[in-house]
Amino acid sequence: MAKMKNESNLQVTFSKRRSGLFKKASELNTLCGADIAVIVFSPGGKVYSFGHPNVEIVLNRFKNINQPFPNPNNNMRLSEVRSHTPIQQMNDFLTQLMNDLEKAKKKNEEIKKKRKNSKRSENWWEDPVEELDLAHAQEFKVELENLKKVVTDEASKFFQGFPHPNFCVGSSSGAPFRDGGYINPNLDQSEQRRMFNVNAYYNPNMYRPNYQLLYGNNSYAGGCVPDQYNLNFMLAFNQYQNQNQNLNPGFKEEGISENERHQDGHSPHF
C-alpha cells in the first residue's frame, strides 16, 4: 500500500475514507461506550476532527496521562443510562432514516424498471415533449389544462370541509388530517388555493414539523424551526414515530395502493 498517484482520485478517496473513519469512531462509541478522538489532516492542510465527548477533552486526558493524579477508572462513565440520551435517540432516528432511504431507493428502482419493461405506448402524447410537433403540443396543452380544471374542482371538495364519506372520523376534534400534507379544512378560500398550488409533493416520509420542508414552500401550519436538538428534537422524533403508525387512518381511498386503484376496473365517467 502506498500513497495514491492520481490527484483527483486521492481527493475522492480521502473524502470517503475520512467519512468512513468518523463513522467507525461514532459506532465504536455507541456500541462500546469508549471515549475517542480522531484527528485527520487533509491533503490540502485542513483539519477534520471527531471526538466523544469531544476532541479537546480526550486529548487533554491523553496529554495528562503521566501526571501524578490520572483520571479515575473509565468504568464510571459506563454506568450512564444510555438508552435515552440524545445520542442514542439520534442514532435510532438515523437508523430509521436509512431504512426508509433504502426502501425509497428500492421503490425507485422498481418504478423505473416497470416503465422500461412496459410496452411502448401508441399514444403520441406519451412521447417525450421534445418529440412533439407544434400541433400536438398545443393540443396536449389544452387537454392538460382541462384535466387540471377537473382536478382542481375535485380537490376543492376536500378543502372546503365538505362532508365527505371518506373523511377521517377521528378528526372530529378538528385536527388536521393526519397526513404529511397538513390539509386543513378550515382554511379560507384564498388560502386553499394557495396551498393547492404549493410546489410540494405529499411525502409520507416528510419529517415534520420541526424540520424544513425541502421543497421550498413552508406554507404548512408547522412552519419550520431552526435545527436545534434537545426538546424540539425529541418531540419531533416522537411525532415522527406516531405519524408512521397513524398514517392515513381514515381515508378509504388513500388506504388503497395507487396501483390497485387504477387497475381496479372502476368505470370512469371522464
Binding site: A2, K3, L10, G20, L21, K23, K24, L28, N29, L31, C32, G33, A34, I36, A37, I39, V40, P43, K46, V47, S49, G51, P53, N54, R61, I87, M90, D92, L94, T95, M98, L101, K105, E122, N123, W125, E126, D127, V129, E130, E131, L132, H136, Q138, K141, L144, L147, V151, E154, A155, F159, N166, D179, I183, Y201, Y202, N203, H262, P268, H269
Partner: protein
C-alpha cells in the same frame, strides 16, 4: 461480518461488548492507517476503552507528532471542522433526510406522471383520487404544462415570425382529439422520464432532479 447488522445501540452484554470493542478498535486503527498511507496525510486516533487504564493510540509510536501538529493550529482552524458526537450525527441526519426527500420526490413525480397518463387513458379519473393525490397531480400537471409551453414557444420561434403554425402535423393527426384515438405516432422512442426534458431547460426551478450523483 454478516452477523452484525445489529442495532446501533450500547451493548449491554459484557461479553459481546468486549469482543466487539476488540474487533472494532482493531478495524478502526487499520482504517486510520490506510487513510494515512493512501492519502499521505497525518492521522491520529485516541481510544479510551474500559478494559485498559492506558488509552490505545494510532500511530502507535508516533502519535505525539500529530498532536504537536494539532497544537500548532489556531483555535479557529481546529474548530472549523471539529465535531462532537451529537453534531456529527446531526450532520448525518441532515444528509440522509435530504437524500430521502429527493428520492421520495422523484418517486412521487414518476407516480404522478403515470397517474396523469392514466387519467388521459381513461383508466381512472380525478373523482377517484384522494386529496394528496389531487394536490400532487395538480402540481405535476402544472409543471408539464410549463414544459409544453416552452416547447410550443421554441417551435413557434423556430418558424420565424408567424405564430400560427405552419408545421406539418404528423401523419393524419391534425384534428385528433385526445385521448381517445391512438393516432399514428410520429415518435419511435421509449417513454422517457420527464426529468430528461426538464434538465434541458435551465430556467425551470420546479424540477431539481437528478443533478447530483450518488454520494
Amino acid at each position: 461480518m454478516a452477523r452484525n447488522r445489529a442495532k446501533m445501540t450500547f451493548l449491554e452484554n459484557n461479553t459481546s461488548r468486549k469482543a466487539t470493542f476488540r474487533k472494532r478498535k482493531e478495524g478502526l486503527m487499520k482504517k486510520a492507517s490506510e487513510l494515512s498511507i493512501l492519502c499521505g496525510v497525518a492521522v491520529a486516533v485516541i481510544i479510551e476503552g474500559e478494559y485498559s487504564s492506558v488509552p490505545e493510540v494510532f500511530p502507535r509510536e508516533d502519535v505525539g507528532s500529530v498532536i504537536d501538529k494539532w497544537d500548532k493550529l489556531s483555535q479557529a482552524d481546529k474548530d472549523k471542522k471539529m465535531v462532537n458526537h451529537e453534531k456529527y450525527l446531526k450532520q448525518r441526519i441532515e444528509k440522509a433526510k435530504e437524500k430521502l426527500n429527493k428520492v421520495n420526490k422523484e418517486n412521487r413525480e414518476m407516480e404522478m406522471k403515470e397517474l396523469m397518463f392514466d387519467c388521459l387513458r381513461n383508466k381512472t379519473a380525478p373523482c377517484f383520487l384522494g386529496p394528496n393525490e389531487l394536490r400532487d397531480l395538480g402540481v405535476f400537471i402544472d409543471q408539464y404544462i410549463k414544459i409544453l409551453s416552452r416547447r410550443i414557444e421554441t417551435l413557434t420561434n423556430n418558424q420565424g415570425s408567424s405564430s400560427t403554425s405552419v408545421v406539418p402535423a404528423a401523419a393524419g393527426t391534425t384534428s385528433v382529439a385526445m385521448p381517445t384515438a391512438a393516432m399514428g405516432s410520429s415518435s419511435t422512442g421509449f417513454n422517457n422520464m420527464i426529468e430528461e426534458n426538464m434538465n434541458e431547460i435551465p430556467n425551470v426551478k420546479d424540477f431539481d432532479l437528478n443533478r447530483c450523483s450518488e454520494e
